[in-house]
Amino acid sequence: MAQLVTPPAPAPALAPALPTARPHPITGAAAAQRGAWTCPACAAAHPLAVAREQLFVCPACDHHTRIGARQRIAQLADADSFDEWDADLAGGDRLQFTDTRPYRDRLREAQVRHQLPDALLSGAARIGGHPVGLAAFDFGFMGGSLSAAVGERLARAAERCAQAPVPFVCVTTSGGARMQEGVFSLLQMAKSVAALHTLADAHMPFISILADPTMGGSIASFAALGDVIVAEPRAMIGFTGARVITQVTHEELPPGFQTSEFHHARGLIDVVVDRRQLRQRVIGLLRVLAAPPGRAGTGAPAA
């Protein structure tokens, strides 16, 4: 597929020889070495093989554990169908930002630790045979925050889908803006929405899948603009986090506040789907949306 814009030379952040990946800090992969997986919600221990088969949803309490971008893609896409886009697109520190440490160092550390260029992976994939563009956030990477590189990957992914044309599926798990990139992070909200418009022009669907958590600038831009919005059970979703709301307003939070189910009941989310049924549900949507009558030849399932 034609590359629309060639990125500026990335910061020399992704040196070729990255140290070996450490166990994933979120999925409890540290326990993998012991062959067991412990649910972070109910502390029940399960054999790793069982946890993996259950897509890291706890068989005891149905808690949906946060998973990384690569795992998410592996769970959703057909085997070996994912072909990553913009693998070299990373970096960005226009503010030369330093808080307690230089941002540059934090970013580099996250890249090494998570073996990712930034908090979003995107690429061409097939889901149930349907060609799609697939993007997935990684919450472990600086809270899945919306950096300039993430915004650019997202925008290019949407544009490639429009050009192909194929549906765009994005799984978001993001704390919102990345403070260290200042207004450049804020403006990614505008960039992503501008790029999504190309999909509308191409009459291609955007399926927005929300996972725990999806907050701030991410839900207040691209993630809320899915033609269909799907969410995992009990994911926390909202503009302002509960802690800040309580601090600022001293309001009492209603039960289930900002969960998927809470928003679903208020008409803001179309469907709440257990992760173990998510792939089948997406395939079902793609059967309808990828090749409707009158749009023959676009996005038809592969032979």
């Binding site: 990125p7 990139e181 909200m189 207040a220």
Partner: protein, 282 residues
């Protein structure tokens, strides 16, 4: 001189600018609307059951030219501040803004936006009624508006709540106004786990108006009367009005379409650490 004291001075300077933009005597959006525009009629309500006084919409003239207006409004008296919720908008405010963008498109009116908002309201009711969705849809409404659109940040430009009425063809920023990804207090709480370090956060976020122009996010800094706009409202309006006229005239003459506006925001980069890093051709 130690680096520490230099850093502290920089933080003090950064904080002075924030205090000027929040000065209680600073002209608010409607003070500038009254001084820059004629025949202003406020329109009320989102036509979906709500009317948020934190966002004002209306119709007016800028000289001979009819315009549609959207403005954040903080409120001056204690009563008005309460009624307008200190300018912090609820979803109904954003839906009212969407109504204004639709109206402007249908009647082919250019849009003027005045931005002065600490941030979208962080409350339970706002979340229940879809604050994030309302902001996202307002961003989209701006990026499909078919008519010329000029925005001016007149005070605080706080986060996504400001972005919802900022994405114009030309963005002006008053000398002592700012745009930020999060309020310095919030940023300090996140970055330093200490909201008290707001001065340091303000300095690190580089909130000077001139930076927005250097970074291609705003087009022009509009000067204020000596000492700041709070000292001379008429003087501030006298400096602002010709710039609104100038940019609107240019946009009308050039012909505007939403695709060009989308392209403007699509091009925001933020990668290059140094200005010499440029986009290569393909």
């Amino acid at each position: 001189m130690t680096a520490g004291s230099e850093g502290a001075r920089e933080a003090d300077r950064a904080w002075e600018r924030i205090e000027l933009s929040r000065h209680p005597e600073r002209p608010y959006s409607l003070d500038l609307v009254a001084r820059c525009l004629e025949d202003f009629t406020e329109l009320h309500g989102d036509r979906q059951g709500g009317d948020d006084p934190a966002i004002v919409i209306g119709l007016a003239r800028l000289g001979p030219r009819p315009v549609a207006v959207v403005a954040n409004q903080k409120g001056r008296s204690l009563e008005e501040r309460g009624r307008r919720n200190f300018g912090m908008a609820h979803p109904e405010g954003y839906r009212k803004a969407q109504r204004l963008f639709r109206l402007a498109g249908r009647l082919r009116l250019p849009v003027l936006s005045f931005i002065d908002i600490p941030g979208a309201y962080p409350g339970v009711a706002a979340e229940e009624r879809g604050q994030a969705w309302a902001i996202a849809q307002t961003i989209e409404a701006q990026l499909t508006l078919p008519t010329p659109y000029v925005a001016v940040i007149v005070g605080e430009g706080g986060s996504g709540g400001a972005l919802a009425t900022l994405l114009a063809d030309r963005v002006l920023v008053m000398e002592h106004a700012f745009l930020t990804v999060a309020s310095p207090e919030t940023a300090a709480a996140i970055l330093f786990r200490d909201a008290g370090r707001k001065r340091q956060a303000a300095a690190a976020l580089r909130l000077e108006a001139a930076n927005l122009v250097e970074w291609g996010i705003a087009d022009e800094v509009v000067p204020e009367p000596p000492g700041g706009a709070h000292r001379d409202w008429d003087g501030a309006a006298t400096l602002l009005r010709p710039r609104l006229v100038h940019h609107l005239d240019e946009l009308v003459a050039a012909g505007v379409d939403a695709a060009r506006r989308r392209e403007r925001y699509r091009r925001i980069d933020g990668f290059a650490a140094a200005p010499e890093a440029t986009t290569r051709g393909h």
